[in-house]
């Protein structure tokens, strides 16, 4: 069936089976391979995207459920050149190694910081506990997110 929605600010239309997940639709139909699939049962968070501003597990959403929605992936949270303040903070703190969980971490952190630029370390850990990382041990990721708060405070009205 046809589905129309927005991805990273651009309208898209795809024709998909109902059983196709949003994650697979983004990765294979729309060739936005930045969103990664790590478990397909809603535990690892590698597939996190923003749907109407909220961080969701795209492996648990059907593409057909995205009808009319505004979807943002890691590509949509990136600049054509250079890094955003959040990405630069990850790099500065060595908050990634193999990079596989990283898009999910970036989208989740972006959602958190956009809504709660004053979040503390406990809140960051709580929110990120739905995103598994096997390489870093998380310490540097939490530090990177905390260090990015100032950038989000500046952009808040």
């Amino acid at each position: 069936m046809p589905v129309r929605f927005q991805v990273n600010g651009k309208p898209v239309e795809v024709v998909v089976e109902p059983r196709l997940t949003l994650a697979d639709c983004l990765r294979h139909h729309l060739r936005l391979t930045g969103t990664h699939v790590g478990c397909e049962h809603g535990v690892c968070g590698a597939c996190t995207v923003l749907v109407d501003g909220a961080a969701v597990r795209s492996c648990l959403m059907l593409a057909v459920q995205a009808e009319g929605a505004n979807v943002v992936t890691v590509e949509g949270l990136s600049l054509d050149e250079g890094l955003t303040p959040l990405q630069a903070s990850f790099r500065r703190h060595h908050a990634l190694q193999c990079g596989f969980c990283t898009p999910g971490m970036i989208t989740t952190a972006h959602a958190l910081l956009s809504a709660e630029p004053d979040c503390d370390a406990d809140r960051v850990r709580e929110v990120l506990s739905g995103n598994l990382c096997r390489c870093t041990g998380y310490i540097s990721i939490v530090e990177a997110v905390l260090d990015a708060r100032t950038a989000y405070k500046k952009t808040m009205p």
């Binding site: 089976e17 059983r19 196709l20 990765r27 294979h28 060739r31 936005l32 391979t33 930045g34 969103t35 990664h36 699939v37 790590g38 478990c39 397909e40 049962h41 535990v43 690892c44 590698a46 992936t73 890691v74 590509e75 990136s78 890094l83 990405q87 990850f90 790099r91 500065r92 060595h94 990634l96 190694q97 193999c98 990079g99 596989f100 969980c101 990283t102 898009p103 970036i106 370390a121 960051v124 850990r125 709580e126 990120l128 506990s129 739905g130 995103n131 598994l132 990382c133 096997r134 390489c135 870093t136 041990g137 998380y138 310490i139 540097s140 990721i141 939490v142």
Partner: protein, 773 residues
């Protein structure tokens, strides 16, 4: 401009693509005409495979083919079905236990591949699985090493035994030493099954170009050159027809990258149907198909003098190997008996290690293979010894740590592989002292055993060494690009460690150019260097980095020779200056020499030993069995830190893996060999909330004498001592309850049971505990 990049915390160049979702992992690859492979796996743990009938599956629209053993007619194998050979410790005794690439007479573990479905989508392929009729005559399952040791139900009728081998680790004369020892202690302990789960599951994409006899395999990792060698023999092609491409790799930890059945099945499928084929492992498969590790049981005895100095260690270790000997399956089972002495001086050593085949997923390496287990055993014994002899456990360790002047210190020799090893350099006591200082041990240790606000406080200490830099060789190549920048090609592999940045640092320093002149660093794929080895045993910095140094020397030699000719001066007058060569007043831009390439190598047969100490402060809620880590400090000396930022990442990352294995992760089977931990809701990985209070300090006070960088492999030290340190902390916390952990993982139910069992033996235990501020 000497050495400005080595030793600097340079931000990684890899990050630029990973942070923006522009990495290319194997599932990101697409080619026209691609078919998707889905694997039918055994749901029986042990049985005779009578028939596979795919007739109904083939009727499904979108199903292209179903491949089984019947389709394999490889001339080099008696059954036609290729076997996966062992890469490390390939002893003849192991051959009968090697795995066929697909099941053909028996199935021996839940998850063993039986058939490969090729379909126009993964979903259709999975639909097809349900329509393949499989007849298996079930046999009694061997689900533990104890059952295996009875040899009643035997996995391999040809040998008649489930014991594939026994390693013997020997040094001195332990039996004599025990006879006269003033003090001995014997314990049975065990470590639970877990594995190096990677966030990116495995994947292989194969393209067969029949017209040009070219097989291209993407998704390679860790040891692409070895794997090409294996594949070439299995598939009957010369190595030169095969290219293995390493893309971005979502973690390795010793588990990904070894040659698995799928590494044959997918290229075979592509050649068989003359279409490109891609297989991406899903998580359900990964849990039951990626190498398991770490399940051992030990019966060990330690002998000491009255002052606590160790005289001898002897005993037996049993390793549950799973159903087949994997390419590197013997490593952990060999390392555990050989290296369990860790950083300690042990003059007499006699430990046998029995390898038992069971109807479970086959075993391979996981970061610090055998060393994590061995460290747990030794560190627990040392704390018990300290308590028995009334010696402070830190002091006990000090008395037994190998001293600075004792290097190289000979470790036990392992037979039948005749594996000798010795330490290289270092001041093990110095990292112990530094760790205690950073931890504030002098104050915090007083809390050990105290009950405060309903929780018992405990402090644990453990010291470790980490073997690295496995040889025998590594290659690197430099080439000048069209624009005068330089590309470095590596025979090592990336599994996420940041090698691109590190090799750029080393090359830039050696050439004395700014780091951005090293425009690209490529790694892993077989087309890059003539003879590559890969990433394992913490070797990438030492072996790869030293190969880069050799390559830069050869490169400079060729460049000087070429430039001298062009500039009409002697070679000794030529200097490389950022983007040009100058000599006798004239200069030429480097791009004039585009295409100039030089390959270098580093040969090595000795191991480096980075080393350090873990100290932990925990609380235990004895009523829940729950451990909380309040502070955990690791100090590790790495010989020479090429990039302190990434080294710290390795220490913390491997530490959290170690804590996962010590507390949370546990692969479980029932008595019928049925796999019970089939999802990430059952197999528990550490999350950001679980271990927030970790600190590490990396030093490089004692370079390694065995390589020009002075570096030591440092990716595994954080994991090695985690189990012993944490278990010692639990024992320290619950000392008034007389609890001694002897098993990992330290799950809440296990700790609670220990408390209950101890209470039954000593009903008054805990009466002496007291609330304290």
């Amino acid at each position: 401009m000497k050495n400005t990049f080595i030793g600097a915390s340079i931000e990684r160049r890899e990050d630029l693509r990973f942070l923006r979702g522009r990495g290319t992992y194997v599932d990101d690859l697409q080619v026209p005409g691609l078919l998707y492979a889905v694997i039918l796996r055994s749901s029986a743990a042990h049985g005779r495979l009578r028939s596979i009938d795919a007739t109904d599956a083939l009727k499904i629209e979108g199903v292209h083919a179903v491949i089984t053993a019947k389709d394999m007619r490889s001339k080099d194998y008696p059954s036609g079905v290729p076997i996966v050979p062992m890469r490390l410790q390939p002893l003849p005794e192991f051959q009968p236990y090697e795995q066929p690439v697909i099941a053909y007479q028996k199935v021996r573990y839940v998850g063993e591949p039986m058939a490969v479905v090729l379909a126009s989508s993964v979903a259709i392929g999975e639909d097809a699985l349900e329509h393949i009729a499989v007849e298996i005559e079930e046999l009694p399952a061997v689900a533990t090493w104890q059952v295996a040791s009875k040899d009643q139900s035997v996995l391999f009728e040809a040998t008649g035994t489930n014991r594939s081998l026994t390693f013997e680790a020997r040094k001195g004369d332990a039996d004599t030493a025990f006879k006269d020892a003033p003090y001995t202690r014997r314990e049975r302990m065990r470590t639970g099954r877990h594995y190096g789960l990677t966030m990116e599951p495995r994947g292989v994409m194969a393209e067969w170009d029949a017209a040009n006899n070219k097989l291209t395999v993407s998704g390679a990792a860790k040891v692409p050159f070895f794997n090409r060698r294996i594949l070439a023999k299995q598939i009957g092609l010369p190595e030169s027809d095969i290219e293995m491409i390493e893309n971005d790799v979502g973690g390795g930890y010793g588990a990904r990258g070894e040659f698995y059945p799928e590494d044959f099945l997918i290229p075979f499928a592509a050649k068989h149907v003359n279409r490109p084929v891609k297989w991406i492992e899903d998580r359900r498969e990964n849990l039951m198909a990626m190498n398991h590790a770490r399940e051992t049981e030990a019966d060990l005895e330690i002998a000491c003098r009255r002052d606590g100095t160790i005289i001898a260690l002897r005993g037996e270790i049993h390793t549950d190997m799973g159903a087949y000997m994997r390419t590197n399956g013997a490593v952990g089972a060999r390392n555990a008996p050989q290296f369990l002495t860790g950083p300690y001086r042990v003059p007499h050593h006699k430990v046998d290690s029995h390898l038992w085949m069971t109807n479970k997923t086959p075993v391979g390496t996981y970061r610090g293979p055998g060393r994590f287990e061995g460290s747990f055993y030794t560190e627990r014994l040392l704390d018990m010894v300290a308590a028995d002899l009334g010696i402070d456990r830190v002091e006990l360790r000090r008395r037994n740590l190998i001293g600075k002047a004792e290097h190289p210190y000979k470790l036990a020799t392992a037979q039948p592989t005749d594996a000798h090893d010795q330490t290289d350099s270092g001041d093990y006591a110095a990292t112990l002292d530094r760790c205690l200082k950073e931890f504030n041990y002098a104050d915090v240790a007083r809390l050990g055993g105290k009950l405060i606000d309903g929780k018992y406080h405990g402090i644990g200490v453990a010291c470790f060494i980490e073997g690295g830099a496995a040889g025998p060789k590594e290659s690197a190549r430099l080439e000048i690009n069209d624009d005068g920048t330089i590309t470095v090609f590596m025979g090592t592999a990336s599994v996420g460690q940041g090698v691109e940045t590190i090799y750029a640092q080393i090359a830039a320093d050696a050439l004395e150019v700014p780091i951005d002149r090293i425009r690209h660093v490529y790694h892993g794929s077989t087309g890059l260097v003539s003879d590559g080895y890969g990433a394992y045993h913490s070797r990438s910095v030492v072996m790869g980095g030293s190969a880069v140094l050799d390559a830069t020397q050869k490169f400079l030699g060729l460049l000087r020779e070429a430039a001298a000719k062009r500039l009409g001066c002697s070679e000794s007058n030529i200097t490389l200056d950022v983007d040009k060569v100058t000599g006798s007043g004239a200069s030429l831009p480097l791009k004039e020499f585009a295409g100039l390439t030089a390959e270098g190598a580093f040969l090595n047969h000795r191991h480096t030993y980075s080393y350090g100490t873990h100290v932990a402060h925990i609380t235990v809620d004895a009523r829940l069995g729950h451990i909380e880590i309040l502070d955990y400090v690791v100090v590790q000396d790495v010989g020479r830190a090429i990039n302190p930022l990434t080294v710290r990442g390795q220490v913390i990352g491997s530490l959290v893996q170690g804590l996962g294995g010590a507390v949370l992760e546990d692969l479980k089977y029932d008595a019928q060999g049925q796999f019970l931990t089939g999802s990430l809701a059952d197999y528990l990985l550490p999350t950001a909330s679980d271990f927030p209070n970790l600190r590490c300090f990396v030093t490089d006070d004692h370079p390694s004498p065995i390589n020009p960088l002075g570096a030591k492999g440092a990716g595994e030290g954080g994991i090695v001592a985690a189990g012993g340190c944490l278990a010692n902390a639990v024992a320290n916390a619950l000392q008034t309850l007389h609890v001694e952990p002897r098993a990992l993982p330290l799950s809440p139910a296990y700790i609670w049971q220990l408390v209950q069992d101890a209470r039954k033996l000593c009903p008054d235990a805990g009466a002496a505990s007291f609330e304290a501020r």
